[in-house]
Symmetry: D2
Subunit: 368 residues, 4 copies
């Protein structure tokens, strides 16, 4: 394992997130290269490898971890596998990039963080909103004092449901849209406000459009009170028609800003005939559509992967870590618990023995 | 009192709301005319009377109520006076239009409704959002099935603080921005969804920008769960810079719509020199601004007053009544109580002996 | 013919424009009422009469002109009939409201103006953009000095083709989209700038989407230089997909404003199922659409008809007259001639013997 | 001069454009590095060199051309110097990147192209709109058939005047805003439509806001007819208040798209206190502003420089060449001539002996 040149990367996964990662690494050839991919379904992994010119393909990710030249491994697998994979990667002496949410339980989060610490590898948490250029601009203005004292930050992410079928199975995903996308908004508010302590969490959720498919909530509203007296408002939906939405609002006593990654960036377009691609989860390319341009870059994926690669080389300090992921995990717990009780849940909130976060909504706290 | 021709109207008040009412009646000369105005500060009343060519001016509204030809009286006075005025108007045998919120307490609401019933006069609740043409269009589309089953409705109203100083005094206003403008959003969601029963209310609020001026909250977030399984999300602020904001979002499992009365309707404008008027509470007319056109009409004020006048003539059935105002009042109670306890408050929620709604947040439920 | 009360109106026509007029009069019941309608196709007239509760129906408009109580007659018939109808109406001693464009030739315009002058009736030119409330706001700001000295004004109106089939027949319409909608933009720039003298006109046009249907241009760009050194830029299209567009831009050395009657006012909406009505010429109500609200009011039609009715009563001075229409007609001539020659055409430009304006493009100036 | 690794670049210039270039190269460290900078004003060059860590500074660009390792030289100097510099660079055996517009006269353009051809170096024309990612998306959709047959393409670029004082001196700039920014729009339409032959050009221009500073036009409208029957409409202004504007509209008989690099991408923002940077030429950061994010990337500058560096390495074929610049130059000639004559000017249009393009408007064609 050299400490110069492009960081050699292995990807675990072959679906939507893995594709985004591979494409993103392809956009930063000066910093990193994907040399291997592992996925239990042989055809899928090969397909992605072919698409991005990745040399080595594995069906067992543990075999990939034995490859000496690989320095950093990214996890783009179902949430329920994150913890074990992280431990295995760390034990193989490689740096970890873990997709969001970090894991299923706080015990797993602790284990992941501790194992990486002991093995001296980085545990990097793939929250791309920290790198989304439009949102970064909002944060720069806020940090320059544009808005005075911030009192409310909002983030919303909405579409009509996830790509992969495992998301519908709450045993694999750990929860519905609050788990899948609420983790973005929680992390966003926390980061944007400068990582203040979180006082408490309230959450309202329900199943509105997909009761036939899942026990997981498909719409959620989450209110977070921070110790610096600011509020986070996080809205997520798998029940929103018309394509993807991702936007923020920032309120201070001296100003306000809005950023919308889709309608606020798109080319309003009408086509009788359709065209290649509009945007993630767009229902059609005919009629009026809101195509985005350079989607990955506008989300911040290549910027994120570039940062992670540079962290491996010691050029930058990790800005999105396992500790961030653990805080998010605690808020997810608190949110699900709140949705059940109808009460704000004060932090710290660390119930033991939780199987999957959504159980705190569906079944309540573990009793024994 | 004739039952034909233009409805003769008396206005109680001479400030911001009274001005809007007088201007709105001036836009519907076929249905109504303002013949008198009453305000305890003589100069103020006269000024408004001169501006709109109103013949009679009173400093004591009770004197105005003795005028035989007046058929309908509108209340544009501080919230704390609404109940007594309504009773007096009803006792004078005249129809009542009461500005929002209906009153201070549920006991007052009951009294107002009962008195008007006994006296055979209409108690009309001036919720202009039921008449806002852009929002009415959204409701028409929803009622036509455009969005399938509705699961979430949002309304937000935000600016940097009220016009009149009595709003800062919670003894006169009964509360801060949640009382002042949250009443709009509560009514809106209730109306838009078809007046379903309300299950419970959660509210988060705080004082973020005006702690030097008031004990009232200047930012609030309210979540309402309805029996038909839909959710209302109401956001209000007196801490939002940059002028006025009033917008809605409507989500159904078959679609979505957005309506913004300001940025979404305005003429994006840059002026080095400024101009006459941009929009309610705009900080300036220089630089970039968002001027609105035909502001009153776009809010629905003349349409609302036209409806009320036609109700007096029996041409239409009241669409915004004391009963609506009482429901809103109950949600205000529940919201303030929730903000104190950090819990959803189940409806019906009718604590006795509440002095002003905000006490439920600041002091808790009356003990005695 | 009384000189008080509501102005009694007769409409000539039964199609799109007649419907708009009838609906608009219905919105101003204090000022006018439609008492009769004339259209050569009996079923059509009756249908409109039933829709709006109009008592008298005629197949021969001359019969309608014999009705003594009618004070004002509106012309919503093909352009080629405007002149003769105006003369007949004036000879019947009734005021005239003529839809745009005023007529086919400058000789006709002269005749119309002169006849109305001799008969002592008003010739009012139905240019609704002078009454479009959003555009009126732009003009108010301009007149208040918001933009300093104006140097360029733009108006564009675009959709995918006209409602009635006679528009495709240039012998009846006199031209394509430049005649049909360019007349709006010409009038708009002229009015907005304060009716300065026009120096010259340049025009580019072609048939891009409807060569199978018409000899008329379906896209045009027109540049007008005024004596006050300002420029008008008018764009029109019958080849623009996706529904209706009507917008302006105003540039001064001290500022700028934009007004869009459709995208800039609409409720961005997604519907799986569709709904009642989006906007004039919208291709569908499914998928993403841009529904407008209170379409007629936002165009200014009822405000326009109210103004005309009040002019008949002497309460207002006509703001849109036959003289305005004649200026527009001259610019239409000049534009078509310019499109043929590729040169600016200096005004005054009054070639004799023009049959229909578009001939100046298709065939050149009359030789005889 | 090696043929591997990062392309070594020298920049001529130290002002606005040079800064953009240096920043852009800094964003593509895998492909190129700026090793030298030349500017006649020593302090300026050093300042830029310090800002971007550029090692070598020259006051005479000819000295810089003697540096053996430099492979590509970019010209960010006044337009009047482009030709001589290009010839000198080519004679030094280095590849040329020339900022827009290519030069002052068609004779210069011929000389530049011919010299580079003879010397075997690339002459690359720095039209960044070919690389603007939002516009590239529009072109991709068009090329995929989204809009059917294109019939009109528009581009507008507007602000309140140039950065550097030499632009006001038409002897150095060759013209006003049509020369400075119209060259973008001409190139854009030509490229977007697939480089069809140009039939003719019409142009209207004037001095509206800056007559005290310059003889150059500060507002222009240009209409270009192409042989494929499509039209280009190019609008440019140095008289438009409120910051920068750059946007396109694309019309086909099967659809339409709009792309706005500023209002259509920005974060609508209100600040009482201001902040670091909004956007090129923004008048302030207080009040309402339209800040952009990642401005250079959204314009396409780093993508453009990356392309040029890769062309030098033979990895890509030049997409923006001296030939493109020469076509633009011919249209500039034709436009200025048209603005004088009020007529469309047919291409080819190659008058000899033109001193600077704007003379064709101000003085007419050379007589000798």
């Amino acid at each position: 394992m050299t400490s110069k040149g492009r960081v050699k990367v292995g990807i675990i996964g072959s679906q939507f997130e893995a594709d985004i990662q591979a494409a993103s690494f392809g956009m930063i050839p000066d910093e990193a290269e994907v040399v291997a991919i592992a996925s239990p379904t042989p055809g899928n992994a090969q397909k992605l490898a072919d698409k991005y010119g990745i040399a080595r393909v594995f069906t067992d990710y543990r075999k990939m971890l034995a490859e000496k030249d690989i320095e950093m491994v990214t996890i783009a697998a179902p949430n329920s596998l994150h913890a074990q994979m992280t431990v295995d990667i760390a034990n193989a002496g490689k740096h970890v990039v873990c997709e969001k949410p970090l894991c299923m339980t706080l015990e797993e989060a602790d284990l992941m963080i501790e194992t990486c610490r002991q093995k001296g590898v980085l545990l990097m948490y793939a929250e791309e909103l920290f790198f989304t250029p439009k949102y970064v601009k909002a944060k720069e203005m806020a940090d320059q004092g544009a808005f005075g004292k911030l009192y409310m930050v909002k983030q919303a992410e909405k579409h009509f449901g996830p790509h992969a079928s495992w998301f519908w199975d709450v045993d694999k995903s750990g929860g519905g849209v609050f788990m899948d996308m609420g983790c973005h908004g929680i992390a966003f508010c926390y980061w944007f406000l400068g990582r203040p302590k979180i006082k408490n969490v309230f959450c309202q959720m329900g199943i509105y459009a997909h009761a036939d498919k899942t026990k997981g909530e498909d719409n959620s509203i989450c209110i977070i009170e921070f110790e610096n007296n600011a509020v986070g408002l996080v809205e997520d939906s798998w029940a929103r028609r018309g394509g993807m939405e991702d936007r923020i609002e920032v309120y201070g006593d001296g100003g306000v800003t809005y950023a919308d990654l889709h309608m606020g960036n798109a080319l309003p377009t009408y086509s009788e005939y359709g065209y290649g691609y509009a945007v993630e989860k767009a229902p059609t390319t005919k009629g009026w559509t809101w195509p985005v341009f350079e989607e990955l870059w506008n989300y911040g994926f290549p910027q994120e992967m570039r940062h992670f690669a540079r962290c491996v080389r010691g050029k930058e300090e990790p800005q999105a870590t396992g500790e961030d992921g653990r805080i998010v995990q605690e808020v997810l717990y608190a949110g699900y618990h709140s949705a059940r009780t109808g009460q704000k849940v004060e932090l710290p909130y660390r119930p033991k023995g939780v199987r999957v976060p959504i159980d705190l909504w569906l079944k309540g706290e573990p009793t024994g």
